[in-house]
Amino acid sequence: MPAISLYYRLPALHSYKRLKGESHMYYIQLLINGISLGSVYSVIAIGFTLIFSILKFSNFSHGGVMVVSAYFGYVLSTKLNLGFFPTLLMVSVFGALVAVVVQYIGFDRIRKSDGNVMLLFVSSATLGTLLQNIIVITFSSTYYSYPKFFTTSFVKIGNFTVGVTDLMMLVFSTICIVVLMYVLYKTRLGISIRALSMDANTTQLMGINASFVIAVTFMISGCLAGVAGMFLGISYSLYPQLNALVFKGMIASILGGLGNISGALYGGLLLGVAEVFLTNFVGASLMPVFTFLFSIIFLLVRPQGISGKFTLEKV
């Protein structure tokens, strides 16, 4: 299997200039970049966490859905010359569909036979690899770039330059998160999802159709995967190993407190900011070493995650 190297291609994302002389401005600039990268990580992490919270397993097929949607967006925008917004819309719908298919093939049967959670995990990792390799076969391993959607690539806000893509990432990630929070906390469907994540058995006794709620949750998660995939495709260029960025989502969601949606949001932002600062001070190539040390120290200091609560195991 081809190895994954996330960190090789990271630096392209941050094409900012050093703000000479004004060091605090420079840090603020870094912070802005970190937050916009972090917002995409948050979107990945939330999609990942949604599934974790209802089925209690790490869904690595999320990465596969991201890649497939990103390529779908590429085809739409180059072959059909669709603009940014229609592409984004189509991609998110496509992501939702793929996720539902994935859940049907990979998890439905295991879940109904009450199988080991680890089986779900293996199934998801396999499906992720499968989707990635289907892309390799169809598009080969070469790199593609999305067309330029916007005429200007930078905007100046006060003294800061912000990449348009970065800004779009930030804006749309925020919109996604706000909409999701609304759905989760204010609608009937959202209540069903949250109830299912707390206690699957009782929820079913209350007359909620678990299969339906799970399918919808996968759709939402796939939708988020589509959006994240497209943004990653735009800012990193497109290649099949984009799949591996799901690990960023996993790290973010664990840092945030596993299974906790708002925790995943903070975890993603934290990870994004930490990565941008680390990239700047130690270089992109050594970043994984520091990410590793950072996560070990973090987990030792705060094992429950940012917003997680300690739950004592019932004996």
Partner: protein, 292 residues
């Protein structure tokens, strides 16, 4: 060396690593997502020593194992008491970190190009010998108090601790042993392929081992071994492109996981057959007296 011998040798090397994955995942339920990095450590230790000095193979083997065990101790100590998902995260991060480090230490490790020109000292027979010794090691481990304690820990940590089992120590022990075995497989890899490069040891390799263990039957050592063999031989026999092979393997995994959730072997071991026959033949009468 003919093509088939090369393929068989590489399967043998991978099987050694899969055995360590069985110890971790199958026996003890530790989810190590960065196990391939220990193979990487073993391969690099061997590569760095063997290209610089003419040392006997045994020395490199021992040093690789030690390096793997020390690293496993270093990674395991802080995280072994954490929740299982967290262990997955820490090991995953460790794997990425090791690959990044090796990529960057250009003057010592050759950076992204890796190390070439390692003498070829492992042939199929050596590989098989070491594989058999490793299997014996794992079988004896499983059939001792250590193996039973591992299964107890996997099934129920609180209940295991109530039996007087030091859960953290058992887990750390297995983690360190598995680190050593995986590093040994790395040493074999370096000696058999004559080159190492950092990118061969990413997460995908680990996931590949995990799915192999699951397909064979997570609770069966024999199953893990047999499915390692199948996954090694099948793609070579069918001669697909490399992506085709991966897709085929993925399809097999998905089918097995869905329709044979216990894996090909379930909880059965090849050795159990003899035990069962023996038990039937001897029929201890004392066993029956307690129950009226």
């Amino acid at each position: 060396m003919s093509y088939y011998i090369t393929v068989l040798t590489s399967i043998t090397v991978d099987l050694v690593a899969i055995l360590s994955m069985y110890l971790l995942l199958g026996l003890t339920g530790i989810f190590s997502m960065g196990q391939a990095s220990f193979m990487c450590i073993g391969a690099y230790v061997t590569g760095m020593i063997a290209t610089r000095a003419d040392v006997p193979m045994g020395v490199c083997l021992v040093l690789s194992i030690l390096a793997g065990m020390i690293c496993a101790l270093f990674v395991g100590m802080p995280c072994i008491k954490l929740r299982r998902d967290y262990i997955a995260l820490v090991t995953l991060g460790f794997g990425e970190a090791i690959v990044a480090l090796l990529n960057n230490m250009n003057n010592i490790t050759g950076g992204a190009l890796g190390i070439t020109g390692i003498p070829r000292k492992i042939n199929l027979y050596w590989g098989l010998l070491i594989l058999i010794l490793t299997i014996l090691f794992v079988v004896n481990f499983k059939n001792s108090k250590f193996g039973r304690q591992c299964i107890a820990v996997k099934n129920d940590e609180i209940s295991a601790a109530a039996m007087g089992i030091n859960v953290a120590r058992v887990k750390l022990l297995v983690f360190v042993i598995a680190g050593g075995i995986t590093a040994m497989s790395g040493c074999l890899l370096a000696y058999s392929t004559t080159y190492v490069e950092p990118l061969a040891f990413g997460v995908n390799r680990t996931i590949n081992w995990i799915s192999t263990v699951f397909v064979g039957g997570i609770n069966s050592l024999s199953g893990s071994t047999v499915s390692g063999l199948i996954f090694g031989i099948l793609p070579e026999a069918l001669r697909f492109s490399s992506s085709g092979r991966i897709i085929l393997q993925c399809l097999i995994v998905i089918l097995v996981v869905n329709f044979l959730p216990q894996g090909l072997f379930g909880e059965n071991e090849v050795g159990d057959i003899f035990k069962k026959i023996k038990r039937k033949l001897t029929k201890k009468p004392t066993v029956w007296e307690g129950e009226k």
